[in-house]
């Protein structure tokens, strides 16, 4: 009876067994964007520390962030930020116990995605026009 390791129990089915739904995809994206934003905070630290360090280091960072690849990463960061924010608002609604019915749930999923895309587009339109 002296077992050392955990018991070999059957595992519940995971992602690959279910037909994807907008609710499920938004849930997965919430976690992925959260993890991406975790790493992405380094972009903010590097920018702020460079600014505080002086003109030369700031110039270097500004040049990297302003390059095509830099802009691409920042574009992704912007979307991840808004996607996670909209996903969070969806969770606030669910936390109150509302919006869990099938129709509302699906609408909230699409609203999350459309909201994040619109906000990202808006931010970058302001950037290009400003």
């Amino acid at each position: 009876m002296a077992r050392t390791g955990p018991a070999e129990r059957p595992l519940s089915p995971h992602l690959q067994i279910y037909k994807p739904s907008i609710t499920m995809v938004m849930s997965i994206l919430h976690r992925i964007t959260g993890a991406a934003l975790f790493v992405g905070t380094l972009l903010l630290v590097i920018f702020l520390v460079a600014l505080a360090s002086g003109k030369t280091s700031f110039g270097t960072v500004q040049a990297i962030y302003g390059s095509f690849l830099g802009k691409l990463v920042l574009f992704g960061y912007t979307w991840a930020l808004f996607q996670h924010m909209c996903g969070g608002i969806r969770h606030f609604i669910w936390d109150t116990g509302a919006g869990l019915e099938r129709e509302t749930r699906l609408k909230l999923g699409w609203a999350t995605l459309i909201g994040s895309l619109v906000l990202t587009a808006l931010a970058w339109i302001v950037y290009f026009l400003g």
Partner: protein
């Protein structure tokens, strides 16, 4: 249930804290609290970043050095780093099942969040107090 006669603690008290997270609602609540704060702070953050996007050194120093921008950035960094530490903690607890690796990653998670928070705060304050 026979063991309950050997101890004065209730069955509930003996299992409390033995789940994967080892704690109660504190984690859940702090996640929500910082999430609520993050909504307006993120919008403020994006606005500040857009102002900084095309700024040269002198302009950037002026923007980050302004008390309103500096305070909003500090609040954002504070709330966001607490929130991301909690979120990454859940991800680690979900996917890392080896106890040793899990503890090491949870420690690194905290170190990273504290580093991001303090390094950012130091830089913002340095700029704010005159570079």
């Amino acid at each position: 249930m026979s063991k309950s006669t050997e101890s004065l603690s209730t069955p509930m008290a003996r299992v409390r804290g033995l789940g994967a997270a080892k704690s109660g609602t504190g984690h859940f609540w702090l996640t929500r609290l910082t999430a609520v704060a993050n909504v307006p702070l993120t919008i403020a953050f994006v606005v500040i970043v857009l102002m900084l996007a095309k700024a040269d050194y002198a302009a950037a120093m002026k923007i980050v050095g302004h008390p309103v921008a500096g305070i909003l950035l500090l609040l954002f960094v504070g709330s966001a780093t607490v929130h991301m530490r909690l979120g990454m903690q859940v991800i680690i607890e979900d996917y890392v099942h080896s106890e040793g690796t899990k503890i090491v990653l949870l420690m690194l998670n905290t170190f990273f969040a504290v580093f991001v928070g303090l390094a950012s705060a130091y830089a913002i304050l340095k700029v704010g107090f005159g570079g």
